[in-house]
Amino acid sequence: MKLLTKTNQIYLGFSLVIYLLTALVFYQIIRLLIYDEVESRLQVERKDFETYVREHNAWTDSPYFVENKIDVIPVSRRGPVREAFTDTLIKNRYDDKLIPFRQLTFYEPIKGVIHRVSIRKSLIQTYRLIEVISVAMVLFLGLLLLGMFWFQRKLSGRLWLPFYDTLSRIKRFDLNNDTSLELSKPAITEFNELNDVLQKMAAKMQQDYRSLKEFTENASHEMQTPLALINAKVEQLIQTEKLTETQTHWIESIYQASRRISRLNQGLLLLAKIENRQFSDSQPIDLASLLAEKLTDMDEVLSFKQLSVNVQTTSPFEVQLPAALADSLVTNLVNNAIKHNQPSGHIELTSTAELLCLSNTGGQLISDPERLFERFKKESTGPDSVGLGLSIIRQICDSYGLSISYRETSGIHQFCISRV
């Protein structure tokens, strides 16, 4: 939920409660005032009535009191209360409508006989007044509420504008890019501070990232140059005539070891580079056709090892990958399928739009299939295998929204790539 929606919701809810309470209290106050007014008038009329009775010692329906205004009924004895105000409904004489009245009941002796006297006042005008006031109040308060709501929305929108601006800029910020994070300088101190802090953080991150990249490159350089030196010297050494068999054997070992370190170094650097997301030029690539192409490129090795290849690509398997990594991915997959194959074995490539599978025949797996993708997990003990191929495949898949799975059924090893 957006911040502004949330504050608006809270504001609206709170205002409604306050509004209803105010309306209720207001209504009660008006009613109280009006009753007070009516009752004090009824008291005055009671005085008038008593004065009349005292002067004339009798009661006649005087024209002063119109219909329903007064009831004088002789009773045997006084009621429990001396006087009481009650609300009552009385039928109109002309149309059978019930009309609300406020009534004052008291007992008065006329010529020695106790009479119960009820003086009434119509509340119809009063009710209308309350209605009008209520409607006006509802209207005004409603308008006020809407007005406040609108104002609040506009105001918050404007107040939070720098925040949203900052947010969208951070979203667009890319560590890989060399452009630094540029944020505006809003007048509001908090936002200004926020932008300052963010800018500093981004600069620090970029600097760290850059030095990490530099380290990766430098490490590569620092390792590869001595390796190049070893290689060169070994190459010069083997030009020497009359090497003994033992010497040749030693030289061969040194040479193989240095080549292995070099491969290892390159593999680890590639892994680090993928982890650091130093490849940013992703483009749509059809992995199925790339794999088929790679298999064609390797036809010499395939025919040498007498491996038959069956390609069944029903539809392209398109992914977003940097070209260099796509190449690394298919090379490692194909190399793996060739290396762990058996003599006159078989390689099969199948693809649908959702799934790409490369399967090969081969012997039983020695190690745990779960740990196959881990670094330095090797199936063969050959000096040229460094055990990074499958980790590189896994790392590429993990970093670019793909998933790789391995399955083995009756001597067929299958690697499948699907989108996450």
């Binding site: 083997i238 068999e245 080549r259």
Partner: protein, 225 residues
């Protein structure tokens, strides 16, 4: 042929120079950016081999400077960085080739020769070794004047041998020359063997001497028997 090697690692520069001098080149080295700058301003080279990372500068700048002075000089970059961007940038500013460290001296030598052939004679040159003649432009091989049909890999192999005559070549360097470094070497060594066997047979059939010698534990050597 004059070659300048710009490389800060003394031992490596030395190895390259030794290797090339043996092949009849005049070779000079420069260990720093300033050294290299001075040399390309003073002398003319047919080819320069440049390391990209130098203690006091960048190899790219040397190439740019050189291309402004003499555009015809061949340039081969040797770098520890195996980055696509570097390769593309190198080609963009006029370098001819890019080798990633560690490389085989024999490979570097083959590349320098092929580059010089292209640069100097526009490829219109024949490579002669005794009774063997190779015409790189048409990729044709003649032995004693008879056309010998070689497969693509056999042809590449022969050219590699001819670029490194009298040099012991490792199986790994031959495999990488033929298939690139992605090849799995356990298989490729056998493949190298079968290609060499075929090449040898084809050359012998046309009456050439047996120039390919195998060196136990190391590889092969192309030389006078």
């Amino acid at each position: 042929m004059k070659v300048l090697v710009v490389e800060d690692e003394q031992g490596l520069a030395e190895s390259i120079t030794d290797y090339m001098v043996k092949d009849g080149y005049i070779c000079e080295t420069a260990a720093t950016f300033r050294d290299a700058e001075e040399k390309i301003h003073l002398y003319t080279y047919d080819c320069i081999i440049v390391d990209l990372t130098l203690p006091d500068g960048n190899g790219f700048q040397i190439i740019e400077m050189l291309k402004r002075l003499i555009a015809t000089t061949g340039v081969i970059i040797i770098s520890a960085r195996n980055a696509l961007e570097d390769k593309l940038k190198g080609l963009e500013i006029g370098s001819d080739d890019y080798l990633t460290k560690p490389f085989h001296l024999s490979e570097l030598n083959a590349r320098v020769k092929s580059l010089l052939r292209r640069r100097q004679f526009g490829g219109h040159t024949e490579i002669r070794f005794q009774e063997i003649v190779v015409v790189p432009l048409t990729r044709k091989v003649f032995v004693n004047g008879q056309l010998t049909t070689l497969s693509r890999k056999e042809y590449d192999l022969l050219l590699y041998f001819l670029s490194n005559v009298d040099v012991a070549l490792t199986k790994a360097s031959i495999a990488e020359h033929l298939w690139g470094d992605n090849i799995d070497s356990a298989d490729s060594f056998d493949m190298v063997y079968s290609h060499i066997k075929n090449l040898r047979r084809k050359l012998l059939e046309k009456g050439a001497a047996d120039y390919v010698q195998s060196i136990y534990g190391i590889g092969y050597k192309f030389s006078q028997p």
